[in-house]
Amino acid sequence: MTSSDQTEDKVELDPSKVKLTIDGIEVVVNKGELLIEAAAKAGKFVPRFCYHPRMEPVGVCRMCLVEVDSPRGPTLQPSCYVPADNGMVVNTQSEAVKKAQNGVLEYLLINHPLDCPVCDKGGECPLQDQTVAYGPGESRFIEEKRHFAKPIAISQLVELDRERCIQCSRCTRFSEEIAGEAEIDFLGRGDRTEVAIFPSQPFDSYFSGNTVQICPVGALTAKPYRFKSRPWDLEQVESTCTSCSVGCRVAAQSSANQVVRYLGIDVDEINQSWLCDRGRFGFESIYSANRLQAPMMPISGNLQDVSWPQAIEKVAEVFAEHQLKGADKIGIIGGSRLTNESAYAYTKLFKGLIGTDNVDAAPFNLGSVNSLYGLKTATINEVAESDLIITIGSNLKETAPILFLRIRDAILKRDSKLVEVGPYSTPLSEYATHVNINFSNFSEVISSLLNGGNGSDDKQITLAAELLKSVAQTADANVSVAIVYSSIDANRPLDNLEAALSKLATFFSPVTVRFLPVLSKPNAMGVLDMGMYPNLLPGRSVLSSAKLLKEVGWEKLPTKVGVDATNLLEMAAASKLDTLVLIGTDILTDFYDLELAEKAVANVKNLICIDTHINSTNAKATCVLPALYDAERSGTFTNMEGRVSKIASKVTGPSLAVDDWAIAVQIADSMGEDMGFESLEEIQAEISQVAPAYFGFSKGLNVLGESGVVVPMGSKPVSIERRPHDPIEVPGIASTNHQGTPLYAGAVIPSEYSDENTFKVGSVSMSYFRLVDEFKEITLESKSAVSSGTSGDDKNSKSRPADQDRNICEMVVVESLMDDGTLIKSAATLSEIKTDNVAKISPSLANSVGCHAGDSIKLKLGSAEAEFDVVVDSGVAENTVIVKKLDASKVLYGSNGLLVEVKK
C-alpha cells in the first residue's frame, strides 16, 4: 500500500477531514478550515489584509481572492471566507487571480497617501510588501486623493491617520469581538469611511495597543513608538511580559540599544498574540529618570552614590553578623519582580548561607500557600475548555487582562457557563451569574451556593446554585469545571478561601475540577516556588525536606519556621529586628498598613534595598543596590499556571546596575562564602537538580522554547499543534512558525518524587506533586502569623455594622491595571493616563446615604478622610464600598480596621 492510499483511507474514515486540491497539490485539512489556511498547508501564501487568524473572517478587503472550480466553471472567491470541502479544486495563481489582486491593490492605492518615507510602518508594511509582490507598477489615478487631518489622537496612547486606513476593519473587529468594547467603529461610507471614536469617549481600552499591532498599514500608531525607529533597524528577542502573573509572550524590540516596542506573540497556550497596554507600553519605565544608576549609601545624612565594593562590603558585613548570631534578627520582604534564578540565589543566600527563614516575597493577599499548592492546577487552556468556569475574587480584567480575554472568548465561542463570585460587577458579569461577596459574607455565600441557594433570599445565589448543581450532577464524563480564584482585595487574603475551595472540589466530585490562582504580583509563583516564603524551599518543598539542598551547599538551613512580612514589620517597629532587606517593594506606599510600615522603617537599624527605581522607601535606606530590569536581564518566569518561560535580555542597563543573582553571588563572596554558581546556566542546572517541582525544567525549556514548560513536568511526549501566526504581522519572529511536532519534555523525575502523590480535599482524591501533609504545617504557621497581623480587621469585619444611621461599611480595596505603582508612574506615556478615583456602592447604600452616580462621597476611617466619585453598582454587596488601590485611597489604610464611614 502506498502512503497516498493510506491517506485516502484515513480521509474516508475520518469525517472531520476533507481532501482538496490547491494549485495541483492535494491536501488533507480539517473540515471547515478556511481555504486561506488550507493553502498555507499546501505551501501557498495567499495575500490578505482583513483576515486575522485569531478573529472571525469577514471577507471585506478582497485581497485573498482565489479561483475555485464550480459547476459554473472557476469563480473568484475570498479564500479567507470559504471553508474547505471535499474535492474542491482551488487555484491561487491563475491569470484571473492575478488580475484581481492587481485590481484590488490599485483600488486601495487610489486614496492611500505616498507617506512611506515618513510612515512608521514603512519597511514592515503589508500594503507595501503585497503591492510589490502582487500589485500594479503604476497607478492610473491622477485626480486628487482624499484628505483628512493627519494624525489625530484617539486616546492617550494611540494616534490615527485616517488617510492611510484601508478599511480592513481589523481594529474595529478586534475591539468588538476580542476586547468586547467597541470604542471605535467605522464612520461614514464609501471613500469617506473613517475609523472613529465617539467624540466624548476616547479609545481607552486596556487592549488598544493590539489594534496598532494588527493594523496592516500605518494608520494606527502608538505614541511610545512613533518615529522612534525604522523596522530595518530593529533587533528583537522573544521574552516574557513581567507585568502580571499571566506571563504573556512578547517580542522585545530595540533600536540602538534602546527598547522601543513590545509586540505580542501568538502562543496558543497563553496570550494568542494579544497583550494588554500595561504589558505592551510598560517598558518605558526602563528609561525613567527614577532609574537607580549606582549603589547608594547615606553620607552625612544624604543618600549618595558609592562604589560597588563599598556597598557590598557594608552589606556583607551586616549579613555576616547575622550569620554568626541572630539569624532571626534579619528579615527579607519582597521579590516578585525577580527572575526564578535570582530568587533562587537570594533564597540560597538567606536561607542556605545566613540561616534565616524570615523571607516573604509578600504577595500580601495570598493567605496560605496551601491554597496555591494544595490543589489540582489548571492551565489557562484548560480553563478555556471547561464547561463551567467559576471566578472567585478579583476583576480579571484588572488583575490578569489576558486571562480575562481568554475566558470571555471561551464563553462566547465555546458557550462555557460562568459564575462570578466577586465584590463588584465586571465586564464579565454580563455573561455570568454574578454573586456579590465581601469579606464578612464570603463563607456564607459559598455555603448557600453549595446548598442549592438555601438560606439566601438573593436571587443570583439561587440561580448560580442551580447551575452548580446541574453541573455537579451531570452524568457526562467529559464535563469539567475550572475555578479561577484570588482574594477580592489587593491587600488582604480572603479568610476562608482555602476551605471554600476544598468544599467546591468536594461538591463537584467526581466531575473534574481544576484550580487556577490569580496572583497579584508578577512572578509571585516563581519566587514562591524558589522558596521565598516562610517554611518554603525551592521546588515547592519545605524546611523539613531539605536533603537535596544540603548537597549543593545550603549549609545553614534554618530549623525554625520564620515569620511573614506583617510580623517582620511589627518586629522592626518594636526595634526587635536589626536588618530589613527589601527587594523591589516600596512598603511605604504599597503595604496595606502604612503606619506600621513607617514605624518599621524608622526603627530598623539596617534598611537594605535592592531596587530598580528610586522610591519613597529606598530613599530612607542605609544601602541601596541597583538591579537590572526588564529587557536587560535573562532568566525564567513562572506564571500563575506554573508555566516556566524565558525572559531574555535585549539591551544593556544602566552601567552600574547588576542582575540580582549576581548581586547575591557578590555579597556571598564578600562574606567568604561560595554560592556554587557563577552563571545563569549554572543556577538553572542547580535548580533542575535540587528543586523537586523543577526537576529537569531547563532541559524542557530548551526543547519547548516558546510556550515554556508547566512544572512539574511529566516525562510523557507533549504534542503541540501551533496555529500559524498572522504572517503579515510582526515579521521575523521565527519561533512562532514552529508547527506540530511531538516533543518530549525530557524530565527525568527521581522515583521518590515521580509517582504523583494522591491526597484528599474533602472526599475527593487529587494528585499533585508534593506531600500535602508537609504543607499542613505551613498552613498552621502562616495562618497564625497572618491572623495575628490582621486580627483587628477580622474582628471588625465580622461584626455587622450596628449603627445604621452612620452608614458604616466594609471597605474592599481592589487592584486596577493602570494603578499608580512604580511601573506605571515611571512609564512616560502610561503615567499620563488619568485614573478615575471612584467608590462603588450598592443601590441600597446609595439610597441611604442619599447620593447618585456621579456625586462625590467621603469615606472616613479614624481621623483619615478621602473623597471619591460614586458609582452605583448592583454587583456590590450591601454595606460594602469598593475603592481602587491608588494613592488617593491609601490614606485610609491602617491597622485600625476596614470599617469606614460613608458620608455625603
Binding site: E176, E181, A182, E183, I184, D185, F186, L187, G188, R189, A196, I197, F198, P199, S200, Q201
Partner: protein, 208 residues
C-alpha cells in the same frame, strides 16, 4: 432625567420588544431621536447605545452610513431635492439651482434663520411627481420654481404645520400607527415559527 422624552422612550421600548435582538432596533430608534431633535445629538446617541446595548461609537458609526440621519444640527425643515434620472429629465438640476439662490444657501447648508436645510437626494421613489422634493420626509411635487417658492413661503408661515411636522418622523417607525404589533402578538408569531422549524427538522431527520 434623560435626554429623550418619556414619549419617545415608551415608543422605543415597544420597538425593542419586537426584535429578537435588541441591536436590530438601532435604526428605528435613531429615527425617533431624530424626530425629537432634528438630528442625532450626542446625548441621544449615548442613550440609544444604552437602550440597545452597544457603544455610542457603534451607534454613531451605523447612523453615519445613512444619508437620512444627521449628525449635526439641521434646520427646522430638511428639504431633500431629488436629482436622479426622472427628476433630472424634468428639470431637477435647474430647480436645485433656483432653490440655492432663493434660500441663499449651498447644498448641505442651513439658512441663517435656522428654518431650512437644503439637500440633494437620490431617487426618492416619487418619480411620478418629478421633479420631486421631500420636506421632513413628506412629499411635494411636481414643482417648478414658483411652486418651490410658494412651498417655502407656506412652510415659513406655518400654513403646512399639520402636514409637515417639525423634524418629521417616519411613519413606519412610529408603532402607534403603521404596523403596530403588541409583544403578545410578536411572541405568538415567534412561537409559530419555532414550532414550524421543529416540524421541519423532525421531518428532515425522519427522511434521513
Amino acid at each position: 432625567m434623560g435626554h429623550l422624552s418619556e414619549e419617545i422612550i415608551n415608543k422605543a421600548n415597544i420597538l425593542l420588544e419586537i426584535y429578537p435582538n435588541k441591536r436590530s432596533a438601532l435604526i428605528p430608534l435613531c429615527h425617533l431621536a431624530q424626530g425629537q431633535d432634528g438630528y442625532l445629538t450626542p446625548e441621544a446617541i449615548v442613550e440609544i447605545a444604552d437602550l440597545v446595548g452597544v457603544t455610542p461609537a457603534e451607534v454613531r458609526g451605523t447612523a453615519s452610513f445613512y444619508d437620512m440621519f444627521h449628525l449635526e444640527p439641521v434646520g427646522k425643515h430638511v428639504v431633500a431635492m431629488c436629482t436622479n434620472i426622472a427628476c433630472m429629465l424634468r428639470g431637477a438640476d435647474e430647480l436645485l439651482e433656483h432653490a440655492q439662490e432663493s434660500l441663499d444657501v449651498g447644498i448641505g447648508g442651513t439658512t441663517q434663520d435656522g428654518q431650512f436645510t437644503l439637500e440633494e437626494a437620490e431617487c426618492l421613489a416619487g418619480c411620478n411627481n418629478a421633479p420631486c422634493v421631500q420636506v421632513n420626509h413628506r412629499f411635494f411635487g411636481p414643482l417648478d420654481n414658483e411652486g418651490f417658492d410658494r412651498l417655502i413661503k407656506d412652510l415659513r408661515s406655518g400654513k403646512l404645520k399639520d402636514e409637515v411636522p417639525e423634524h418629521g418622523v417616519l411613519n413606519r417607525v412610529d408603532r402607534n400607527y403603521g404596523l403596530k404589533a403588541t409583544p403578545d402578538q410578536v411572541q405568538a408569531e415567534r412561537d409559530v415559527m419555532e414550532s414550524a422549524k421543529k416540524e421541519r427538522l423532525a421531518k428532515k431527520s425522519e427522511s434521513n
